[in-house]
């Protein structure tokens, strides 16, 4: 990997549950001030907190450029509803939506729905992959120019440019087409935490951005190589994936901690490695790993969002920008543009020979 490849930075803005929108809007604006690629908002049916996708939809009109990536789980939800909601987030944010797909493995979560028992992680991750695949096909199920508003023939749409997806997975089928027209990014960005074994295969096959846990640059580079190899086996090009190292960050009270560096931290929500130190040392670490080709970037989970995100943006990011290692403004408008990912061609238009 070239050492001049753009660095990508993202931040989690969850934390202790909050229900006032101003809290989340403030954090997203702060991250946008730092020109970060995107913010994530974790979610689960099992712990207190609001619906993440709704929160980031509320944030969308109050921000202009930052990518918005809620966690939406796939185990107890309807794939058709999930794809509609994510596509709608892309519409209301004008092309800034992502979707962090996750599974629900516990019996406690299953009992909230009462429809199916808890299942093993590998089975649920295969289903998550099916959900992502059905979603991607639904997003493609309207060609970009399907709406014609042809007054002469009285037709609002060209029905030949709308497609049934007829998706058949192991646990569900979806006929299609989507209700929501193809979203601005074509397909919103799919993010998967590929740290665990069962998740990694799904990530390699379906994700645009993969988060991995690593405590050394070698480990991160190994995970990245592995993911790219697996992605290639699915026929994906080497440029189709962004691999970000997940770090939980505690920037503490000091500008420079006595022993900056990585350690095995407490089991935190984002599942990343644990960094404790000052903002400057964090910038050094990011620079070193990125230049060495270990990762395309970092996904930072501030241990105390209000405090640590402010230090990340005004300390770490400012320093990286000063050293010309990170962008100072958004050259594009969509999340795909921030990530340097192409807007996907529509598979159905392609099949129809019109692409």
């Amino acid at each position: 990997m070239s050492s001049t490849a753009p660095l990508h930075l993202a931040a989690e803005i969850g934390g202790p549950p909050r229900y006032d929108p101003g809290h989340y809007t403030g954090l997203a604006r702060l991250a946008e001030h730092g020109a970060l690629d995107f913010v994530t908002l974790g979610d689960s049916f099992a712990r207190p907190g609001p619906d993440a996708l709704a929160v980031l939809s509320r944030v969308a009109p109050a921000t202009g450029r930052i990518g918005l990536v809620p966690t939406v789980t796939t185990t107890h939800t309807e794939p058709f509803h999930v794809s509609s909601a994510v596509a709608t987030l892309d519409w209301v944010s004008r092309g800034r939506a992502g979707w962090q797909a996750d599974v629900s493995t516990t019996g406690a979560e299953a009992r909230l729905f009462g429809r199916r028992p808890a299942a093993p992680a590998d089975e649920l991750w295969r289903e998550a992959g099916d959900s992502a695949e059905a979603g991607a096909r639904l997003w493609d199920s309207w060609e970009d120019d399907a709406e014609i508003r042809d007054v002469a023939t009285g037709r609002f749409i060209d029905r030949d440019k709308l497609h049934y997806i007829d998706f058949e997975g192991a646990s569900f089928t979806v006929r299609g087409p989507a209700i929501v027209p193809r979203p601005p990014q074509g397909r919103p960005v799919i993010v998967v935490d590929g740290t665990s074994g069962p998740a990694r295969e799904t990530a390699a096959r379906h994700a645009d951005v993969v988060l991995v846990r690593a405590t050394t640059p070698e480990q991160a580079a190994g995970a990245r190589t592995d993911l790219r190899r697996r992605a290639a086996a699915y026929g994906r090009g080497p440029g189709a994936l962004r691999v970000l190292v997940a770090l939980t960050v505690d920037l503490g009270d000091a500008e420079t901690a006595p022993e900056p560096g990585l350690e095995s931290g407490p089991p935190l929500a984002a599942g990343g490695s644990y960094y404790r130190g000052g903002p400057v040392d964090l910038a050094e670490l990011i620079t070193r790993w990125h230049r060495g080709g270990a990762a395309d970037g970092f996904h930072l989970t501030p241990i105390t969002p209000g405090r640590d995100l402010e230090r990340i943006v005004n300390g770490t990011v400012a320093l990286l920008q000063h050293r010309s290692l990170f962008r100072t403004f958004y050259p594009g408008g969509t999340l795909r543009e921030h990530l340097g990912l192409a807007r996907p061609a529509n598979r159905y238009a392609f099949e129809g020979g019109r692409a």
């Binding site: 207190p48 619906d51 709704a54 944030v59 107890h76 794939p79 509803h81 596509a87 569900f172 089928t173």
Partner: protein, 433 residues
């Protein structure tokens, strides 16, 4: 102004996917861009409306096995758009239509409670049901539900959602819940505290006896189609009378028909404009399609400006998928033929005549009078206005009719409270922990 003057409630329906939405008008803009939703919502809030209303689609309509292509198609997912609109409005209620058949109580109750928090108490849920396998083909459950079960599931769904909304104490302590019923057996802990309105406002649409009973037992608002004074009064009296058996007062359920309007500088001009709009709504292609929906046959060879077919409707047609069927097609066809013969109407004119849905036509003064009379006569508590243009179709109403309603003292000039319940004069539900 006397305090006894009856206050009306007003809501705005986003004119998206609808066979009355005129997309061919040069003023018609996107039905999907957020700017369109923002424009209509801000207009409604400028007019001090009670709430903004979104319909839902879960499968694209088909005609004769092919996707219907004559009307507006494509819309965003309701709750997500409303969460975004919460950022660009302050007081306006935000109502989402969400199906109780193809959702689960835990997830939907959580999404609704979240919207109520994010909007600081402005969320509403229009409960609808479905039973058809056609829609079910997009969902895990498929078309499993018998027609008869759809209201029992919906009623248990709403009751379960209310249990979840009540599972946190008003002072913010989560408590575990257990629900064991015919349709749902669930337990655990809800993730969202009691929301600013206690419970989001519940709206119900549906006119069958089951639907009326469901509304009387549990809804805060009924969305009806009774747009005439006479049928409105009948419906109003019937539904209000059903409330007592559930221990509810007449004021606890607001009856709001969905209505259309056409404004002109004079009544005559409005009538002329209304006729033009009908011609736009019923294009030649749409007239033939309406005919095929009754006849159940391919009638594409007929001239829309010519007479109705002599042949009878085909047997057991399932030509139309994704919308309510026309009922007894032989009777409808006979009625249409009689009307056509009597008045000498073409196919297109007959369709215009029989499917007319414009409720209030006239100068702003006339329409204001009609609306006031409607409410004073106990035909409605207010209206859900369905404009025919996206997104500017409400502009004239807010600029020209609302001030007249305010002058008459039948509509608020300012919001008096922050929540949708406060606009509607509905009390916060008693906590049933």
């Amino acid at each position: 102004m006397s305090t006894a003057t009856r206050q009306m409630h007003l809501a705005a329906h986003f004119p998206g996917v609808n066979n009355t939405t005129v997309w061919a008008d040069p003023r018609s803009k996107s039905q999907i861009d957020f700017s369109s939703f923002e424009h209509l919502a801000r207009t409604a809030e400028r007019g001090r409306f009670d709430f903004f209303f979104l319909a839902e689609g879960l499968r694209l309509r088909e005609h004769n096995g092919r996707i219907h292509d004559l009307d507006v198609v494509g819309r965003p997912e309701s709750l997500t758009v409303l969460a975004a609109l919460a950022a660009v409005t302050d007081r306006l209620g935000l109502a989402a239509t969400v199906n109780a058949t193809f959702n689960e109580p835990y997830e939907l109750a959580r999404r609704l409670a979240t919207l109520d928090h994010l909007s600081e108490g402005r969320a509403a849920w229009n409960v609808v049901t479905s039973f058809d396998a056609f829609t079910g083909e997009n969902f895990r459950r498929g078309g499993y539900l018998d027609r008869a079960d759809r209201y029992t599931r919906a009623a248990e769904f709403v009751a379960t959602a209310r249990e979840l909304w009540d599972s946190w104490t008003p002072d913010g302590t989560p408590r575990s819940f257990t629900h064991r019923g015919q349709h749902f057996a669930i337990e655990g802990e809800f993730t969202v505290p009691r929301s600013p309105q206690g419970h989001p406002v519940v709206i119900q649409a549906g006119d069958s006896p089951d639907g009326r009973e469901f509304a009387a037992s549990t809804a805060d608002i009924v969305f009806t189609r009774h747009g005439t004074l006479e049928s409105g009064r009948e419906f109003y009296a019937d539904v209000k009378a059903r409330l007592a058996k559930y221990g509810r007062e007449p004021g606890e359920l607001k009856i709001m028909p969905g209505v259309t309007f056409v404004l002109g500088d004079s009544d005559a001009e409005a009538q002329e404009l209304a006729a033009e709009i009908r011609l736009q709504q019923v294009s030649p292609q749409n007239a033939l399609l309406a005919l095929e929906q009754i006849w159940g046959r391919d009638l594409s060879a007929y001239d829309p400006d010519g007479p109705l077919p002599d042949i009878d409707p085909g047997p057991g047609s399932s030509l139309v998928q994704g919308r309510v069927g026309p009922g007894d097609v032989l009777a409808v066809a006979a009625r249409w033929r009689a009307l056509s013969k009597e008045k000498g109407l073409s196919i297109r004119q007959t369709v215009i005549e029989t499917t007319g849905r414009q409720s209030f036509i006239g100068s702003p003064r006339t329409v204001a009078e009609q609306l006031t009379e409607f409410v004073a006569a106990d035909a409605a508590d207010g209206f859900i206005l369905v404009p025919h243009l996206t997104p500017g179709g409400l502009d004239d109403f807010v600029d020209r009719v609302v001030p007249l309603l305010q002058e008459r003292g039948v509509f608020r000039s300012e919001y008096t409270g922050p929540t949708l319940r406060s606009h509607l004069g509905l009390a916060e539900p008693v906590w049933k922990g």
